[in-house]
Every structure is written in C-alpha cells, then in structure tokens.
Symmetry: C2
Subunit: 343 residues, 2 copies
Amino acid sequence: MARRLFRKCIPGIVDVAKHASVSPATVSRYFNSPEVVRYETRKRIEAAIEELDYVPNGAARSLNRGASGTIGLIVPTIDNAIFAELAQAFSTSLFRHSRTMLIAAHGYDLAREGVLVESLLEHRVDALAIVGLKHEEQTFEILDKRDIPAVMLWNYRDRQSLPCIGVDNREVGRVATEHLLELGHRDILFLFAELRGNDRAADRRSGALAAMATAGVEVPRNRRVVSPYDVQAAKELALKALTATPRPTAIFSGNDVIALGVLFAAMSLGIRIPDQLSVIGIGDFRGSSAVEPGLTTVRIPARRIGRRGAEILIELLEWPSGHTRPDERLPVEVLQRGSTALI
Amino acid sequence: MARRLFRKCIPGIVDVAKHASVSPATVSRYFNSPEVVRYETRKRIEAAIEELDYVPNGAARSLNRGASGTIGLIVPTIDNAIFAELAQAFSTSLFRHSRTMLIAAHGYDLAREGVLVESLLEHRVDALAIVGLKHEEQTFEILDKRDIPAVMLWNYRDRQSLPCIGVDNREVGRVATEHLLELGHRDILFLFAELRGNDRAADRRSGALAAMATAGVEVPRNRRVVSPYDVQAAKELALKALTATPRPTAIFSGNDVIALGVLFAAMSLGIRIPDQLSVIGIGDFRGSSAVEPGLTTVRIPARRIGRRGAEILIELLEWPSGHTRPDERLPVEVLQRGSTALI
DNA sequence: AACGCCTCTGCAAACGTTTTCATTGATGAT
DNA sequence: ATCATCAATGAAAACGTTTGCAGAGGCGTT
C-alpha cells in the first residue's frame, strides 16, 4: 500500500528515537519503565520529545497492548443532575488511576443501548459500567462472551447476572412512603417518575405501593400518576391534583425534580407547606436542601456510587481473577427537612 | 516478540475472513464500501460475523486511517446543569454523524486543562471543543501545531485565535443589568459567579458594571459579591444582604443557580417577589420557568451551542480547507417572568 | 480470435507502538 | 586470564486494520 504522503508529519516514536539517537524500543521504555533507562539517555529523549512536541499514539499502544486504558459508562442521559453527578465522580476516580471515561447516553431507549455497547466495545473499552438493571439479553451475552469486567450502577438487587453497585430502589420507595405514613398521612398522591425503560423508577413505585399495602391503605387509581422528569410538567400535574377535591394531604414524588414542581405548585396556590401539605422527594439533588422549605427526601449517594463503580472496575482489571463478587448495596436514609410534618 | 497466547481469542477480521473463506481485505470492504462486494460474498461474511460475534477493532482502524472518529470536549465540570445540557447536545449531534464524544472535565483548573488536552490528543481525537476563551498559551500552540480542528464554546468574542461559538457574555451581563435599570432599580446587589478560571463569569461581571457606569449609577463595594455555584451558598449570601439595611431593591445573579438561592432566601424572610425585591438570573436553566414566581433570566442557548459546535467541527473535518472562519455569535434575550417588576 | 473493459477479489505493505530475546560492554569473583 | 553477572540497549516480530495495485474471470465489440 502506498505511503500516505499527505499525512501531516505528526511525529512518532521513531522520530523521537532518531532525534535522540536511540532505538524506538528505548523511547518506549522511557515511558513505560523509565528506571531501566540510563539517566543521560533519558535526558536526550526528553529533549527530543520536547523538541518535536511528541504525544504518544494511544491507538497504537492499545492495539499492541490489547488494552485501551478507557472505561465505558452508559447512562440514560447526561443531562440530568443526578447522572451528571454520577458521571463526574466516575470520571474523577478513573482519572486518579490514569484512565479515561468514555460516556454514552441512550435517552431511556433500551434498543439504542445495544448500539452503544457495541460502539464502546469497538472502542475497546477495558471495562464497562451501565446504569440500571434491565438490559437487552444480547447485551449481557456479548459482555459475557468478551468477558470484560462490567457492573451495573445505581440500582441494587441480589443475584443479578452482573455485579451491582447502588441502592435498592424498592427500599427507597418503601422508606419514603413509610415516612409519610408515620406522619399520619393516608391520602397520599403518588407522582411516580416515567417507568418505561427505567427499572429504578419501577422499583420505587413497587416499593411504595408495597408499603401502602402493608399498612393496609388503599391507593385509588387517581392517586397514582406518572410524571415526566421536568419541573414544569410536574408542577402542572400537581396543580391539577391540588385543585381537585378531596385534596391529598401528602405527595410522594418519584424524584427531587418532581418534588420541586410540586412545591412550586403548592406555592402558586397558596398552600402552606408542610402545614397543609407534606411533600417528599427522592434523590437529594444538590440544592434540595436550600429550597424553601427544605425538601424532605431520600438520600441517594450518587457520587459515592460513581466513585465506587470506578474503583471496583479498576480493581477487577488489576486483579482479574479471584475476588468475591463485588456487589455493593449502599444505605439510604430519609433526610427530614421542612417539607413534611405530622398531619 | 512472542505471541500473546493468553489473550482470550477475541476474533479479528482475519478470523472472520477465514470463516467466510475470503480474504481479510474483502471483509474490510464489506464494512467500508459494501457495494463493491458481491451479494453472496456479503451474505457469507455476515454469517461469519454473526457466528463469531465480531466487533471491529477501533484502535487498529484508527491506527491505519489516522483518524479515530472521536471528538473531544473539555468542560469545567459535567456536574453542572448547563454544561450537562451542552455536553448532551454535543454528544447527540456527534452520534448522528456516527462519531463519539470523549469528554473531560478540569474543575475550573486551567493547569489541569493542559493535561486533559494532552490526554485527548493521545487518544487521537479528530477535533476538539473547549469551553471558554481563556486557556494556556501552550494549549493553543499545540493545537495549532497539530492543526486539528478546534473551537471554543460558550463565550463569544471577536478575533480570537480559535473560532468561537457562543454568546457574548459581556452582552449578557449588560442586558440583565439594563433590564433592572429600566425597571427603575438603582440599589442593585450583584452576586457574581466565581471568577477564577472562568472568563464567562468575568465577562458578565464587566458587562454588568459597564452598564451601571453608563447609567451613571455607582456600585459600592459591598454591592459586589462573589458567590459559589451552589444554591445553599448563594442563599446564605443573599440572606446576609437582605437582612442588612438598606436593603437592595433588586439582585443581579450571575447564573440561575445563584438566583434560585436568592429566591429561597427572600422566601424564608417573607420578602415578596417581585413587589419588594426583583431578581434576575442568567442561563435559563431547565426548571427556571417553573419556579414560583417564574424566574426572569437571560436565556443562553446551551443546547444550541452544543449542537452547533459539533456540527461545525464535523464540517471542518469533512471539508478541511476553504471556508470562512466558522465563528457564531448566538443571540441572547431577557425572558421576563415573574421575578422582576417596576420598583 | 483478439482485445478491452468491468467486476470482484486477493496480496502485501503500511499505521505506531510494545516486548521478547539477543547483544554489548563493564564489573566483580575466582 | 576466565567466567558469570548485570545494566543498558537494539533488532524485530507482533497487534488488527485499510487500501493501492494487480490478477482472474466474464462479457461485449471488433
């Protein structure tokens, strides 16, 4: 094949080698195990690198080594406070171990998720983290066949086909509901988050309804509403429910964004919180404590999940075998602030 | 060099070729220009790919082609509503053109930014987008030497060394201030965002102060405060200012997060907005319209910036030469909602 | 028949690293 | 002087693709 004459002479390791009058092998060693290279040689190489503005070619390295130093993260969307926090923590942890994050978002579309996995595999990520428990069968198969380390983040459940690191979202739904029940509320409006392609939301819902059943409280159809992930939309749904009679005494919100919408709806109707209405959220987003009144919510440790996810994958990479399964179920807790009170 | 016997037989193009009884070249053509491969041959190759679960090796391709199909994005932090929106839009646009985003965050640390650029170059990104105008000299130099397409996002200014796509943040600061002035406010508290390593915030500040100067209104020292990017912190700063006398009649907030903090502070003090206090934000974050009262803010089209940034880089890649400089200055506008009123 | 053209495919040379193995001196022990 | 040891380096074979060139048939035209 003909030389690519046109390519703009971007310097390679052999150029550096020539410049420093050593062999490419030595330059490579300079990077990968400097201590075996004689001091003066090292100096010469350094000078050459500086001179040529040499930057190693990751593709070539990864081709040779069979590892790219890159770890994939698949989230529903970046554009969502809580996943952004997760991603940031994940990325930072990786950076600390000199690896890079390759992030991809599927927009709650499981089919598209498959494409993303393929794409990440094509980039030869060394490991993979996916948000959520529910994925296409094919995804699991291909990860298994390739046997690259993989974990599922955010939601936790026992005996999954892949290790998970996160919280049990059924528990989350349960404790939020129990909190309202303990305060004496019986007529509760449930504003669940969109369930499609979202096992977290689905789990919260089933946890919540289970808690209600345990308490022996009926939840009529019109008290179970699904809200988009959007303050404005949640606000409108809440407005509708709060202007009808009878009015619920409490609102369970599938996440803090929905809760924020509820708060604003109440405000615009002049309904005093928590005297006339209790509101609980889920997530403890940044800023939820500053809302007026402070939002009672179930804390989900997003950053910690991101950090642990990254750390565990790296561990898996560096000690490939042995190990018990690295599942981690993180604790959740209700943070009672000003938005809930005894009925 | 000895064969890497241990590597778990992950199939390559030659395995596929053998399986389909063709040459590797033909398999490669199957991917890159299917129309030249005979139908039956194509079928055979498809079967082999299916059978072996073959996924092309991006590193090898990128090594050979000298292009990785990957485009870098450097942001201060992902974990920030507005940059998350930007990144999401950027990523989606790239995906549409079958390219991948490699994102990196420096946490407002210009020094670390240099490392990130290097790291992205090592990954051989085909192009690069950076948020902000101000960067290390070395960054510009290396981008220039490598001559990979690069743009600066978010902030706009004429005659920069790299094309920029964004809004003029001095204008942003100016129009926000003018809005308050037009409503008759003279005693305005300025809660600027953190300025260090943040040319956007600095520009907003200078635009705002210039507008005040033009109007001939003095801004005393204690009316210029810098707030962290955090609802709680902004709330506390606002609380302090709002409990002192004299109380400002309006608050200029460097971004919507700060404005939210101000709103909550006013609420907790029982100060009615906008009757007793006008508040303006900047950014028009998702949800800012749903706040009660609706937040008046200066709209910055984050998604559009992300999308255009991606599109422009791709254009630059596909028609490498010619072209006028692709700078784009996007319009800003004040969205008056319920949080500002005549004094 | 001879020739040219077209379609499809194979050959083999890159791409820029890493790493095994061998080589070269230098040093120290016998 | 001989030999083993050691430190520092070089030579060369991979890694898995892409692609220019050339070859092999098939077909239509002279």
